[in-house]
Structures are given as structure tokens and as C-alpha cells.
Symmetry: C2
Subunit: 136 residues, 2 copies
């Protein structure tokens, strides 16, 4: 069997997509690829996509994709180069976003955790984790 | 600002991790990187990670990472080569997993959607979507 080779899409859920756009596009600088007001925001993250959905819209059936939609804080980790992490810390601080927790990983990676406006746990992580390839 | 370059981790939530392991490791063939019974399963997906958490465990604070945990069907898309999709369809069928929906995308990619045992919407997608690099 040809194995699964790539994580193409991750999804998070948000009640207020305008507020989420300010965060993911404005603060985190992710390129917005597609937007349907009241339903979704789709961002490019390197060679993958981060999809933000409003669960009240996507839990309804009958669309072009099957219904889904979760409540409660989800999680995603986004990779930045090691020498960029301090700059990211300053940028978060400048936007009033509190770093909730930090970690150093056994293989040398470091993580900053903070919340998006809906309470999702977002992590910025540097290479040196999970045995993944050493650079991004 | 050095941009965010990589989607490192996506998370889904499951109530029964044994059942989830049978699905993600047994049926989808993802390599299991870490397992904490009752709390999580961590799978490698190419150069990224798919994390499956039991929300009752991860919503509690005081751990090495901030609390998180969602309820309701989440979503993830996993990439397979175009010529592998029919083999994957047969494999799902052999395991009694129903393909809920299919899609062909304008750029040539194709998707099969099905559910994991907790109802999360899992998608197998071939290259030719979102303007992402053409192969995986």
C-alpha cells in the first residue's frame, strides 16, 4: 500500500471569523487563500493548509464536503526557524498576546504556546522535535 | 518577520484511544511515534505529526503543555499519491469503512472522505489542490 505522505490540511474552529482573520492573517501573517464570510477562512502554511471553520455553518449537511465542526479548544503547531522565535515572541507581545507556556524539547526544538481569539492552543515550534527533518 | 513555514502538528480528539489506534495505525498505516494510554496517540505523517488526544485528559491543566480538547467532529486531510487512491478505496472497503463523499478539485486533485471511529471527517487527497506543490 502506498503510504500516506503528507499532512495537507488541519482544521480549527472559530465563532467569529473576522476576529480570527485579524489573528491568523494580521498577527501570524499567514496568506489567506480563500474566504467565505460566516463559513471559513483558508490559510496557506508552507506546503499545507490551515482551515478555520465556523462550526455552526459546517455542521450543516448538504455542502460540497461532509459536515464537521467541533467546540472547545483545539490545537495546531506551526513551524518557524530557530532564529526567528525571539522575533515572534516580540511580535506576539506587541499585539498583546500572552505567551501561556514555553517548552524546550529533548532534540533541541523550542515551543511558544498562546491562544487564538477563540481559545485554540496555538504553538510556534522550531526544528528539533519528533525526529522530523531538521529544517523548515 | 520570518514567516511561518510548516504545518508541524494537527490535532484530532477521540474518546477511545484503542479504537483510534486500530484505525489510524491499523487501517491508515500511520507510524505511531508516541502513546500514553488514556491521554494520546502521536502519529507521524510525512514531515508532520497527527496528534490524537482524549479531551477528558488534555483539558485538565498542570501538564507540560497548555490544556486543550474539543468535542464534535473535527477534520484533517492526508495526502496520498494520485495513483494510490484506488488502492486506498479498496483498503477502506476491506475494513468496512464507508466512503461518505468524493470530490474532484479544479486543479486535478481528488478526495475521498470517510469517518474515523469518533466521527472525525478524514480526507485522503491527491496532489492538485490549493496550488500546493504538485507532488507528495
Amino acid at each position: 500500500m502506498e503510504p500516506i505522505r503528507h499532512l495537507v490540511e488541519a482544521a480549527l474552529y472559530a465563532e467569529d471569523l473576522e476576529r480570527a482573520e485579524s489573528f491568523y492573517r494580521g498577527v501570524l501573517g499567514l496568506p489567506l487563500v480563500d474566504k467565505e464570510p460566516g463559513r471559513h477562512l483558508f490559510f496557506r502554511v508552507g506546503e499545507s493548509m490551515l482551515l478555520i471553520f465556523r462550526p455552526e455553518a459546517t455542521l450543516q449537511g448538504g455542502g460540497s464536503v461532509p459536515p464537521h465542526g467541533a467546540h472547545g479548544p483545539g490545537h495546531v503547531a506551526l513551524g518557524v526557524p530557530a532564529d526567528a522565535l525571539e522575533g515572534w515572541r516580540e511580535r506576539l507581545q506587541a499585539h498583546g498576546i500572552e505567551v501561556e507556556q514555553e517548552q524546550r524539547w529533548p532534540r533541541g526544538g523550542r515551543s511558544l504556546y498562546f491562544r487564538d481569539p477563540d481559545g485554540n492552543s496555538v504553538e510556534l515550534i522550531t526544528p528539533g522535535c519528533w525526529g522530523l527533518p531538521s529544517g523548515w
